[in-house]
Symmetry: C2
Subunit: 194 residues, 2 copies
């Protein structure tokens, strides 16, 4: 995808991304696949009811522990009154939509750069359908997760509609969050002994 | 699970949740399954490079459009320098871990209440492994999504270890985000025509 012959004809930055750094990353990973291994992390603490808070800072990637973040990110999950909360924050299934929107957007913008496509505007609208009987254990035939998620993308760029549709299909196949959702990913939960 | 005979022996609030409201919700859904149908939403706008922002406010559930949120939630995705960004926010795969942590926690606390288990402390640590060759399209045999996610839970409660392990297994089977991750969920992406 990111053939050097395409990218060297592009300006230094494209779609807000540094083209040379992207190319260097690709070349480094091609030479040593272990540099592609990342481990992301979160620590979460229950507060009360449907309220809990995550701290996110460190991760491993490109062969080392990252040290670029001087301050940790913190995010609060909550629930609306209809789901027994007080809107202390967005709820977990809404945060999942935020993660999915962001990942599809960043994957699109990255591979647009690789194809020499300049993005002017990009926005998405997401909807996800959920049947609460799954969470509540009222009907074993109902999956507790989203039944389906729909994304509508608005994009303005310097290319044809066909090129955008091709890029969008490629994005769907290569977005990490999209593939975590649309493919089965094992989740191992273990209780730490007291 | 939430049999009334169990719950009426409990105090009005348990684990920060209103027991009677929970029971009323269950009974209402049992009488009319359409009340269990929820639709969650997010709108996201690309800013530049790996930075984009979601607005989350309205949703449909319990038979109507929710109007409980006077202000929208906003969250910013970013990327660290090693992934071509400036740490404008946590990145999408990290937000997914936050969503997963929160959902497992809230599902655990909810069904603990239903079982009459009082939670004193609850925290989780999450790790997810990702191979960047998937996102970059460098190796089609590598999935772009998480390969595996591990959750370690620390919990203090007024019950036996066996009861906690049983509750944890039930939680894993009934958490919406956990089931969106561990089962395949269809994601439909469509480009709006200009």
């Amino acid at each position: 995808m990111m053939a050097q012959q395409t990218a060297v004809q592009q300006p230094t930055r494209m779609n807000g991304l540094d083209v040379q750094t992207a190319l260097d990353t690709i070349e480094a990973i091609k030479a040593d696949a272990s540099l592609a291994r990342f481990q992301f992390r979160a620590r979460n603490t229950w507060i009360d009811g449907g309220e809990n808070r995550s701290v996110i800072r460190d991760f491993y990637g490109a062969g080392r522990e990252d040290d670029s973040r001087s301050v940790a990110f913190e995010f609060t999950n909550g629930e609306p009154p209809v789901l027994l909360g007080n809107n202390e924050g967005a709820n977990p299934v809404e945060f999942l939509l935020h993660a999915l929107a962001g990942c599809v957007t960043t994957t699109f913008v990255l591979h647009a750069m690789a194809r020499g496509i300049e993005i002017r505007e990009l926005s998405t609208q997401l909807e996800g359908d959920l049947d609460l009987r799954g969470l509540l254990g009222l009907d074993d035939s109902v999956s507790p997760g989203y039944e389906q998620i729909r994304i509508k993308m608005n994009v303005q760029a310097n290319c044809s509609d066909e090129a955008l549709d091709d890029l969008l299909a490629y994005t769907q196949q290569h977005s990490p969050v999209c593939n975590t959702v649309c493919r089965p990913v094992p989740v191992a939960i273990e209780r730490a002994s007291a």
